[in-house]
């Protein structure tokens, strides 16, 4: 996308958030068993955004940088719809497949919105180590999968799952496709801190199709997920900073607008500075991803530390600056705060990432 198209895309997204995404329905969305509004999801599918995945010039998918505005918009308006199922990790897995015919099929299913895929990689236990205990065995029809996965987002909205498990022949991780209604697949759904729905999955001799070997596809998928989560975080930062500034401009105490107090101005300035630093960092790491930069692993950890710290700081300050209103459900500020905690849980805390970075050689 050139600069002009990017600006048009961003303007269109802003319009969509203003006119098309009804935040007043948040609590209603929250009551649905899948945690989002199916009608809203259909509308998003019809917007043509998923065309961004259509390969050109022999590329397996469009540059990740093009998707950043979309995830930032999702962050700012707190979309509940599982756009990650279509645009995040599954795309990286599909891109790593050898079978061109099957690859085009799966990608077409994503773009048309007919076959969204959920990414099931993390297993119960602690941390973000990515250890895989799930196993597969060969069967007459393909493979059978056994094991458990946790914190799967968008499971309620997927046609099939992409699951990491040990390949019986290679004795190494590989990625498999499991149909959502496959035999021997159990799903336990629960509501998360940010009012979304995640699932813990169990597989018992579940029919599976092998897509590709795990390494480096898993790394690519996780990196893609991490960068898009960072873009989502940016959107939250923008919204929190905007709302806080406006609130302090309007709220009067002791006969003047709160924004007139220099002590409060400096607090807002710090929040804005952190946002700006993150904007630049996200763009540069997305580029590194598209360019397959050799030090991407280090860059991803730097990104995680910086995003986590900035997002936690900004959402914390936004709550505080809003006073009592900040801890109510009436404003989006409190929802931002909870989403920030959830994103740490999905992607890793700053402590963890800093530790991991210090241990890289």
């Amino acid at each position: 996308m050139d600069a002009e198209s990017q600006a048009l895309f961003a303007a269109m997204l802003e319009r969509y958030n203003r006119d098309g995404y009804d935040a007043s329905q948040w609590s209603e969305y929250g009551l649905s068993p899948q945690g989002y509004a199916p009608a809203q999801w259909s509308e998003m599918q019809a917007m043509g955004w998923f065309e961004l995945l259509r390969p050109d010039d022999g590329q397996a998918a469009a540059p990740l940088a093009d998707l950043l505005p979309l995830f930032a918009s999702a962050g700012e308006a707190l979309w509940r719809e599982p756009i990650g199922n279509v645009l995040a990790e599954p795309v990286a897995v599909i891109a790593a497949m050898d079978d061109g015919e099957r690859r085009r099929e799966l990608l077409a299913g994503l773009i048309s919105g007919e076959r969204p895929l959920a990414y099931a990689h993390r297993e119960p236990g602690e941390g973000w180590s990515g250890e895989i205990a799930a196993t597969t065995t060969k069967t007459a029809a393909g493979y059978a999968l056994d094991g458990r996965k946790t914190m799967v987002v968008g499971e309620a909205a997927c046609a099939a799952l992409i699951v990491s498990a040990i390949d019986p022949e290679m004795q190494a991780p590989a990625l498999f496709l499991v149909e959502a209604r496959a035999q021997g697949l159990g799903a336990q759904r629960y509501r998360t801190l940010d009012d979304l729905v995640a699932a813990d999955l169990s597989f018992s001799h579940t029919p599976a199709e092998r897509l590709c070997s795990g390494c480096p596809a898993i790394q690519r998928a996780n990196a893609r997920g991490a960068i898009l989560a960072a873009a989502e975080s940016l959107g939250i930062m923008r919204g929190a900073n905007r709302d806080s500034t406006e609130y302090l401009r309007e709220r009067k105490q002791f006969g003047q607008a709160l924004l007139g107090f220099q002590a409060l101005q400096h607090r807002l300035v710090e929040m804005h500075m952190r946002q700006h630093e993150c904007e630049a960092l996200v763009a540069s790491v997305a580029e590194a991803f598209d360019d397959q930069a050799p030090d991407l692993d280090r860059q991803l950890l730097v990104l995680r530390v910086q995003i986590s710290r900035a997002l936690r700081h900004i959402t914390r300050e936004a709550v505080q600056l809003h006073g009592g209103m900040g801890v109510t459900q009436a404003l989006r500020i409190g929802r931002y705060y909870k989403r920030a905690l959830m994103l740490d849980s999905f992607q890793g805390t700053a402590d963890w990432a800093l530790e991991a970075l210090s241990e890289l050689r």
Partner: protein
Amino acid sequence: MFGDSADRGRWEAAVFEPERSAVQRAAATAGFDAMQFRAELRAFCRDQVPADIRQQIGKHQYFSREQRIRWQRLLQAQGWFVGHWPKAHGGQGWGQLQRFIFIEELERAGTPWLTHFGTSFLGPVLCAFGNDAQRARFLGPIRDSEEWWCQGFSEPGSGSDLASLKLRAERGESHYRVNGQKTWTTMAQWADWIFCLVRTQASGRPQAGISFLLIDLKSPGVTVRPIETFDGGQHVNEVFFDDVEVPLANLVGQEGEGWAIAKFIVSRERLLVTEIGKAFHLLGELHAIAATMKLGLGDTATFRRRAAELEVQYRSLRATAYAAVIEAEAGREHPIDASLLKIRGSELQQAIFDAITDLLARNGLAFQIEGIAADIVGYRHGDPRLPGLLHEHLHSRAASIYGGSNEIQRGIIAKTELRV
């Protein structure tokens, strides 16, 4: 509680604090034995907390109205619930130090927060400003937890700037007619009565037109509407008054004396906002959670350093708090102490919850809202104590907002210390 009791025990042993001699001397001057009093409270909290309440403590679940009342009555059976009231009014005449030790020990054991609107605020106000008829009518039901009180101070436009409040009370023959709104009213949904700052005079200095009125929440024209907070619990409410008739006899003190009474209330429990005992309890939880984590993640250098930082904050705060209380006991209260303790106390609590949450994040946070007050039925992701802890984390964000935000407290310190 997380882990086995040994995990908590290690933390408790590590920060075992012998009674400081300065505390013992101050206590002796006040006429009690600090070590003996503390030992008595610890034994009580060890042996006398009802089983259902103990279970809820372990899961960080929200206590019901009935549980809170039952606990308060158990304390009053020892004469402790209103121990800080004057002896002439059924208390034990405790000074600030004894009350501080009492609250610290209850918090250390994780027992239900004492709803202090009646016992800490209105009781002493009636003793100091009320008349005999008001004392005879209201003190007994507060002492015995028969009537639940809430506090009507904040209004939609008047949070930090309380003197600008607008709730109007017009005096008639036998009644005040009250119109307007209060907000952020803690536990109004459980309350029988509310004490309010009302405006009885619109002209002149704003502080001078404020009066202190007792209002029966069952009066016609009163509406209590809950405010949904982001932790999924219900703590605060809006209270609307539409032509509510309040007997003139429910005015405490004189008309225009409301601001002085409000300042008296604020000065009463100023030092207790530190919640130093709660910080101790939560640090115990943090260490216990870390000890239960697999793969030794709770034992990384990063975690140990972070826990050490929190211990530094905790010990500094406790020393500062006791220094302030001892001075206050001797009648030499320093004007910035309460603000400093409020700021640091809330910051410490929030920092502990951040550390706890970061540890739990490794398991994948979930937040099953039903787990706040009762056990989750059906599938649950993660430890059953998680919802309660996350709920408390979110609630702790309000600790730097309510009762005068940390920004307001810093302003007070600036005014006093820098003479600006």
